[in-house]
């Protein structure tokens, strides 16, 4: 067990495990970051989009004459023009649906893109967008997936299947689960919704598109997955991939929002192609908020247990609201992403998960928001259900968990829903958390407060994450297998350049990647330049989302480094005039076995590689593609301590402790920072953030005044600690951590609030737990309780 804050690795480590300050920071601190809106190409036009005010309407006509009267107006493009160029629709990332670039015939959600306006200035482009006159014929709106399933209104007549049902996905043993539930002493039944939320990075999305003198597309874009974008653009536009260069500059956050290919991108490229000038498009905040979403899972759970709390079976039925297009960023072989992690950290003899997805008149997307596809929904569900079961059985929630944890000697553990967990020590991690938070003292304090009628809650989440998508046999985007590439070149002086197919959005890759390579090669991490995001130079890779960078690209980097080390060994043998098999890699140098005085460092080998390589091929570089054999499974125990004001319903998070086990940690400072950020987003989801719609399909969360994200004032202070069970199959034992706090924390917050309200008989409240909702739950409970007055 280690505090993240402390330098805890043994001194022999050169770079791994050290809280090295970030190499990328000086440029950000001086305002020299190069974000998308900082890129301006000579002669560029500006683009603004026309959005539908209606959630569902036929388009009877579009009149752009008034817009074209604006000084500086250049062109207005509608679906008809795009169709003439064959780019009316674009594929969605898991390839099971396609999406309109501009509304074709009708609009399917409020704020859908209807036309694109191009002008000499940004202001003129927005003026044009105001004046494009669209004649709408409103249609009946279906904003609720439970209404959509009746098929009274067919939302997508363009599809072959004449139904609003998109797909059914299920996994596990249905009959066995039903039988086990029927035989259980106790079954928890609850309907739990994970509401629709948005990642809301502070930098909105945007792009600048240009066709150069050679007719080659130079596409600057906010992308978490530049190579996949290049392939997707080939699919949409038919331009050969060698004629497309995608460059993703510094990104001001992403969290999943910068994975999809948005219609605005295609319109910018189409404009650049047709108008012969570069086109810039930067989203407004409202465009950003209305372009995609995450979650929106409506889950019915049945959780069976024996009298003593031993789990017997888990059954989950989910209705998923996918909005107007099935644009979920899930692998096509696994349309519900990693929802199968719903059995969590526990042993279940039987489990069955079933999911049905539906179209509605809402924004499309279903992106993974700071999580590995659907793991957040799954983790929230099982952690919430465990608390309800503990309450029903009158058990301490930690004892119920302890009784059912997968034990550390059971790994690798085959779950009933088809995952093989690599490693973990759940009980130890929970014990560390209980000790650090002072659980026994808190229980005592809670008992005293309850005597006085005060509402204090302690909430746990002992979640298991699943990250590191691939392996390619299971995971893909648009059929492209999930793996990642790394390229390392060592220069004669021992400095070098590192390139990967991933793309940092603030995660600190420039520092972390340098630390991995420096550790493997015995070189100085300060002397590595890290480059990502340019498809002309970076090796192919599937990008950064779903906490996959360290598990996949990090593995590729370690293995590419080792490839370099093997070549370096031959050169070292030449320098030392011994057989290479007589050398050992010891204390970051090649040493003749048994003769410590005869050694050469990697720096010396690097110079020799270009000056005196002997019979060996000159140069010192390697490219390697890593397709992991399995995913990795970080875990953690989170504890929230809250006080709820009985009169106002306001919740105060008094303490929050996150104990994470992410396997080998490369930079504790960066890891701790990511945990802080993820906890803040988890807090937001639990208490504030929601993309709400009214029944008429109006989107009620279109900017930061009605979609609330936490400020420094309401954000709790975070406490962190770490345990370490390395992944047995990963080259450096690393799992990942960036998404764990967002995956694990909502359940801890909600469990704490429900624990606070449990003396009143409150069993569940759906997020976000706003003070109004909590207040209403308290009032209802008090009015229903015989002891109310």
């Amino acid at each position: 067990m280690t505090e993240l804050k402390t330098e805890h690795e043994p001194p022999q480590k050169l770079a791994m495990g050290k809280s090295m300050k970030r190499k990328e920071d000086p440029r950000f601190l001086q305002g020299k970051g190069n974000y998308i809106d900082d890129i301006n190409l000579k002669g560029q036009l500006y683009m603004a989009l026309v959005h539908s005010p209606y959630p569902h309407a036929n388009i009877l006509g579009i009149d752009s004459s008034a817009a074209m009267d604006i000084p500086g107006a250049v062109a207005v493009v509608t679906a008809a023009e795009l169709a003439a160029h064959g780019v009316g629709w674009l594929p969605t990332f898991h390839g099971l649906d396609k999406q309109m670039v501009l509304a074709t015939g009708k609009v399917l959600f409020q704020y859908q893109e209807v036309a694109a306006c191009y002008a000499e200035t940004r202001e003129a482009a927005y003026d044009m967008a105001e004046l494009v006159d669209v004649d709408y014929e409103p249609l009946e709106v279906v904003a609720d997936p439970f209404k959509a399933m009746k098929d009274d209104v067919l939302l997508r007549p363009d599809r072959e299947a004449k139904t609003n049902h998109i797909y059914n996905w299920n996994v596990g043993d249905s009959a066995g689960t039903d039988a086990a539930l029927a035989a259980s002493d106790h079954v928890v039944r609850e309907h739990i919704t994970f509401p629709r939320v948005h990642a809301a990075p502070l930098e909105p999305c945007g792009c600048v598109a240009e066709f150069d003198a050679m007719g080659r597309l130079q596409f600057y874009v906010t992308s978490q997955a530049p190579h996949v974008y290049r392939t997707a653009l080939f699919m949409v536009l038919g331009i050969p991939e060698d004629k497309i260069r995608v460059i993703s500059p510094d990104l001001g956050g992403g969290f999943g929002n910068k994975v999809p290919v948005y219609p605005g991108y295609v319109c910018a490229i189409a404009g650049a192609l047709v108008l012969g000038r570069p086109v810039k498009w930067i989203e407004t905040r409202t465009e950003n908020m209305t372009s995609s979403f995450a979650r929106d899972y409506h889950m019915d759970i049945e959780l069976g247990a024996s009298k003593d709390g031993t789990l017997t079976a888990l059954k989950v039925n989910t209705v998923a609201d996918h909005g107007a297009f099935d644009a979920a960023a899930d692998p096509s072989k696994y349309p519900a992403g990693m929802f199968g992690i719903v059995t969590g950290s526990y042993q279940f003899p039987h489990a069955f998960a079933n999911l049905d997805a539906y179209f509605t008149n809402k924004q499309p997307g279903g992106v993974a928001y700071r999580c590995s596809f659907r793991v957040t929904e799954a983790s929230y569900l099982i952690e919430r259900a465990m608390d309800i079961l503990a309450d029903d059985l009158g058990m301490d929630p930690t004892e119920l968990r302890r009784k059912n944890f997968i034990r550390k000697d059971q790994f690798p553990y085959q779950t009933p829903l088809n995952f093989v967990y690599d490693s973990g020590d759940y009980e130890h991690t929970m014990d560390v958390a209980l000790e650090k938070i002072g659980y026994q003292d808190l229980l005592k304090e809670q008992a005293e407060k309850r005597e006085r009628g005060e509402l204090m809650g302690i909430g746990f989440s002992t979640f298991t994450e699943v990250t590191g998508a691939g392996p390619s046999k299971h995971f893909d985007i648009l059929g492209i297998k999930m793996f990642d590439g790394a390229e390392i070149r060592i220069h004669p002086s021992g400095s070098g350049i590192i390139r990967t197919g991933t793309k940092s959005q603030g995660q600190g890759h420039e520092t972390t990647w340098a630390q991995i390579v420096a550790e493997e090669l015995g070189l100085d991490p300060q002397n590595f330049l890290v480059e990502e995001g340019d498809t002309d130079t970076a090796p192919y890779g599937l990008g950064t989302y779903a906490s996959r960078s360290t598990p996949v690209a990090g593995g590729a980097l370690a293995l590419a480094s080792r490839k370099i080390r093997e070549k370096a060994r031959k050169i070292a043998a030449h320098l030392l005039e011994v057989n290479e098999h007589d050398l050992e890699w010891k204390d970051y140098a090649f040493e003749v076995m048994g003769i410590p005085s005869k050694r050469v460092t990697m720096k010396e080998v690097a110079f020799a590689a270009y000056t005196n390589p002997g019979d060996n091929e000159p140069g010192l570089e390697a490219t390697l593609y890593y397709d992991p054999p399995n995913m990795v499974f970080p875990h953690g125990t989170y504890v929230a301590v809250v006080d709820v004001d009985r009169e106002t319903g306001e919740t105060k998070v008094r303490r929050f402790l996150a104990v994470d086990d992410a396997g080998t940690i490369i930079n504790p400072m960066i890891v701790e920072g990511q945990i802080h950020g993820g906890l803040t987003e988890g807090f937001a989801i639990a208490f504030m953030q929601e993309i709400a719609y009214d029944e008429a399909g109006n989107n009620l969360a279109t900017n930061f005044t009605d979609y609330l994200v936490p400020t420094s004032l309401e954000s709790p202070h975070w406490e962190t600690a770490a345990t370490c069970t390395p992944s047995p199959h990963h080259p450096i034992g690393a799992k990942s951590v960036g998404e764990s706090p967002n995956v694990g924390s909502p359940a801890a917050f909600v469990n704490a609030v429900i624990d606070a309200l449990s003396p009143l008989g409150v069993r569940h409240i759906d997020m976000p737990l706003t003070r109004e909702k909590v207040w209403a739950a308290i009032r209802t409970a008090e009015n229903e309780s015989p002891a109310a007055d």
């Binding site: 300050k21 970030r22 990328e24 920071d25 000086p26 440029r27 950000f28 601190l29 001086q30 305002g31 020299k32 970051g33 974000y35 809106d37 900082d38 940004r122 202001e123 809301a200 990075p201 502070l202 930098e203 909105p204 510094d250 990104l251 001001g252 956050g253 969290f255 930067i282 407004t284 905040r285 409202t286 959005q505 603030g506 995660q507 600190g508 400072m669 960066i670 701790e672 920072g673 990511q674 945990i675 802080h676 950020g677 993820g678 906890l679 803040t680 987003e681 900017n703 930061f704 005044t705 994200v709 400020t711 420094s712 004032l713 954000s715 202070h717 975070w718």
Partner: protein, 186 residues
């Protein structure tokens, strides 16, 4: 604001004031006067980014909610520059993130954000630092709560505020009169 646009109002039941479409605006940014003919509706943030070419000041929300466009006006007043027209800054002093480091030496506030890992994607950082600087100008040794209150107009989505608070605390110590003399930034 220039006064030459006053004219006789037309005889209608509502007032129509036709504003000039372009104005000559002069703003002193980081000590250097920038004069440009801009549309009257040009926002200060766009003037700073596009006319003065200083892209460290960012745009995040278009609605004064996020604070990534925060600059200092007339020395020490933090202003969300997407809230203000460029013409409103005519003749005034504006200070942006680009003024902080002098001769390649980081300002204490920058050093503190670096030391404390007070940034991740870096998009909110310039605005966050300018607000912090104004806060420390008003209150050189703020409590944690005062820091959190002072920064509550600036959103951050990556770092979760703990380390930002610590950075401001460190900067306060570095900038205290008893500490080593600060590099002048004017």
């Amino acid at each position: 604001m220039t006064g030459e646009t006053q004219r006789q109002l037309p005889d209608t039941d509502f007032a129509v004031v036709e504003a000039p479409t372009t104005l000559s605006v002069s703003v002193r940014i980081n000590g250097k006067v920038v004069t440009r003919d801009v549309e009257a509706r040009t926002l200060l943030v766009h003037f700073i980014r596009e006319e003065a070419g200083l892209t460290g000041t960012h745009v995040g929300c278009d609605s004064s909610s996020c604070g990534v466009c925060t600059v200092l006006i007339d020395g020490d007043v933090p202003v969300k520059s997407c809230t203000m027209f460029a013409v409103m800054a005519h003749g005034r002093d504006v200070r942006t993130v680009e003024s902080l480091a002098v001769g390649g030496k980081l300002h204490p506030i920058q050093q503190a954000f670096w030391d404390q890992h007070g940034l991740q994607c870096g998009y909110c950082t310039p605005g966050m630092m300018m607000t912090s600087l104004a806060l420390l100008g008003r209150n050189p040794s703020p409590s944690e709560h005062e820091i959190r209150e002072g920064l509550s107009g600036n959103l951050c989505r990556c770092t979760g505020y703990n380390n930002i608070v610590k950075a401001v605390q460190q900067a306060a110590e570095m900038m205290a009169p008893s500490a080593a003399p600060e590099v002048s930034h004017d």
